[in-house]
């Protein structure tokens, strides 16, 4: 039934919207993954064609066809298997990810700060990924980039990829909230401690799969508490993925009543998680 909803929302151009309207890269990537998992090859192929149409000359992907910039969605495109996306497009996405960092980690910015005598803050010592070029790194895009690069490194081990993944994970560990878990990436604002969010906590835990650190253990504890209270499909999806990555998903967990998937990424991810719980992984294949 849910797959029917997803199929019915595919735009004539082959892509998918978030809710309605024009096609965007994020819902299209998740929908294509769900279609591939369900064996709906034709629908997936149309989605993949649309995705290749938003690939840019710099190797990145734009978030929708009307936007002439490569953004964080490049990491989402790189989550797709190269044989499905197209090897050239996939290689371009991986290269874009490897050369992209938050602005605070660029050589030019570091040189400027050094000349101004501004010391590098502890939470800026490791490079993560930004939402858009020229902005700082954040937990969401960093987590997705780590997932994409980790998958690539399993296909084709490379020290360059391993190094960026390791640094990205350090970035996440330094951005953990004081009371545990992760928000978008600001642990403090003007000296006041900031609180964690369920969805970003789940994303960071997924990206920190296999990492043993106090921040991860605190994050797992908080994710379990969030899981008991969350009523948002987005939050529940990412908490589930994060706890599965950490092998900490409570076996007896059932979705609470009344949780609605209100966007297509939520619908697609819920489908993919259902498959993953049956042993058909899509993030860690």
């Amino acid at each position: 039934m849910t797959l029917d909803i997803l199929a019915g929302k595919q735009n004539p151009d082959g892509g998918w919207p978030y809710v309605r309207g024009v096609s965007w890269t994020e819902p299209t990537v998740y929908s294509v993954l769900a279609m591939l998992a369900a064996g709906e090859k034709q629908r997936a192929a149309r989605g993949l064609r649309w995705l290749r149409s938003v690939a840019r000359h710099d190797g990145g992907f734009s978030p929708q066809s009307g936007v002439a910039e490569s953004t964080w969605v490049t990491a989402l495109a790189a989550l797709l298997p190269p044989e499905e996306l197209g090897r050239d497009a996939h290689r371009g996405a991986i290269r874009w990810l490897l050369r992209t960092t938050g602005h605070e980690s660029t050589r030019l910015y570091l040189l400027r700060q050094w000349l101004l005598g501004v010391p590098r803050p502890a939470d800026q010592k490791f490079a993560g990924w930004p939402w858009t070029d020229g902005a700082a790194a954040w937990v969401g895009p960093t987590s997705i980039a780590i997932l994409a690069l980790t998958a690539e490194s399993r296909r084709m081990p490379s020290s360059e990829i391993s190094q960026r993944v390791a640094e990205g994970r350090q970035f996440l560990l330094t951005r953990a909230c004081h009371s545990g878990g992760w928000n978008h990436g600001a642990t403090d604002a003007l000296g006041y401690a900031a609180d964690a969010y369920p969805e970003t906590t789940g994303m960071a835990l997924a990206a920190l799969r296999g990492v043993d650190a106090p921040a991860v253990r605190r994050g797992v504890g908080l994710a379990k508490r969030f899981l008991a209270d969350a009523r948002s499909a987005d939050a529940l999806n990412w908490l589930t993925l994060g706890l599965m990555a950490q092998a900490e998903m409570p076996a007896d967990f059932t979705l609470p009543d009344g949780v609605e998937c209100r966007t297509l990424p939520e619908t697609s991810l819920a489908l993919l998680i259902g498959e993953a719980r049956k042993g058909r992984d899509f993030l860690w294949v």
């Binding site: 994020e26 009307g66 938050g102 939402w131 902005a135 604002a189 003007l190 209100r262």
Partner: protein, 327 residues
């Protein structure tokens, strides 16, 4: 902390600072400028009386919206069922109904929160689904709306151009409905700062960090200039003081403040909060030297006098110098 880059003095800031100094010296000789009308109306609680109050406010401003499209932009920030972070849904519904009663062809509620991606869940937690019948049919998530690249007309910031949501760009009237709150980076967040929610997260992410790098005050002034057809209605019934816009504490002020000139409305709100509007950087930029634009004498005020409703909003130490004299 990665959200806000290290402070730097840009040429524009230097110019703004020089302008502020000159303007302070010139305050006694204001430039001739058309007065702006601002209403201050007492609203003791979020109850059914609000529907009539909002209708009276729109009547007073004689807003001609017959056959036009109206986009109402509340401020949705965080998951919380209480009323002091997000614009109250009853007030938003009352406003939508009042515009429909005035003959608007379409009235939609639209918002693009800056931190949380699941906007509909956020609106649900804030009570919008309960209060606004068929909420999803009347709501547009501006973070995920179709976009058009716009050259910013004033260029206060270094952005130059910006992708903006078509729902807001095509509106005949954009109604900014913020919560009256203090803000830990710009002093106060009101109808102009509320326009940050127009910037699409689907393009720029969560948070919309490009705006921080390009200068928060400058981007607020840029967005204000990009939307010339606005009406502001500020939810000051219960606002927020201290470490706003999220971690502050509830502050009762019991007022609604409204008008067609968001700059004058925000300056009036500042005075109610006992904040000096001349110290708020984005107001300083938006008036572009026309000091009289936010002079108390130049605001054609109706309803309550500022002195009758003024109540000092607590400020964090970084903004104590913003306190209005004798506040």
């Amino acid at each position: 902390m990665g959200m806000k880059p290290a402070p730097k003095i840009t040429r524009r800031e230097l110019l703004a600072a020089s302008a502020a100094v000159s303007l302070t010296a010139c305050r006694r000789a204001p430039l001739p400028i058309a007065p702006a009308r601002v209403s201050i109306v007492r609203a003791p609680a979020y109850d059914q009386r609000i529907y009539d109050t909002v209708r009276r406010i729109l009547d007073e401003h004689n807003l001609e919206v017959r056959g036009r499209s109206v986009v109402i932009k509340p401020n949705l920030v965080e998951f919380e069922p209480e009323s002091f972070i997000n614009t109250n849904p009853l007030l938003v519904h009352a406003t939508a109904e009042a515009f429909r009663a005035r003959g608007a062809a379409s009235v939609v509620i639209a918002e693009g929160p800056g931190h949380r991606r699941n906007t509909l869940d956020l609106a649900d937690a804030a009570g919008y689904f309960k209060i606004v019948p068929k909420f999803e049919d009347h709501f547009i998530d501006l973070n995920l709306d179709d976009v058009t690249q716009v050259h910013l007309p004033r260029q206060f910031s270094s952005l130059g151009k910006l992708y903006l949501p078509n729902t807001a760009l095509r509106a005949d009237l954009l109604v900014s409905m913020p919560k009256m709150k203090t803000h830990h980076w710009v002093g106060a967040t009101l109808s102009m700062k509320n326009l940050f929610g127009l910037v699409p997260g689907g393009v720029y992410g969560w948070p919309k960090n490009v705006l921080h790098w390009a200068g928060i005050a400058e981007c607020i002034a840029d967005l204000h200039a990009a939307f010339p057809r606005q009406f502001a209605l500020v939810d000051g019934i219960v606002g927020m003081e201290g470490n706003g816009p999220i971690q502050g504490t509830a502050k009762y002020a019991g007022v609604l403040v409204a008008g067609s000139d968001p700059v004058a409305v925000d300056a009036t709100c500042c005075r109610i909060m006992r904040i000096d509007p001349y110290r708020v950087p984005y107001l300083q930029l938006a008036i572009e030297g026309a000091d009289a634009r936010i002079s108390e004498h130049n605001v054609r005020q109706s309803g309550e006098a500022i002195s009758a409703v003024a109540t000092p909003f607590q400020l964090i130490p970084e903004f104590r110098s913003f306190r209005l004299e004798n506040g």
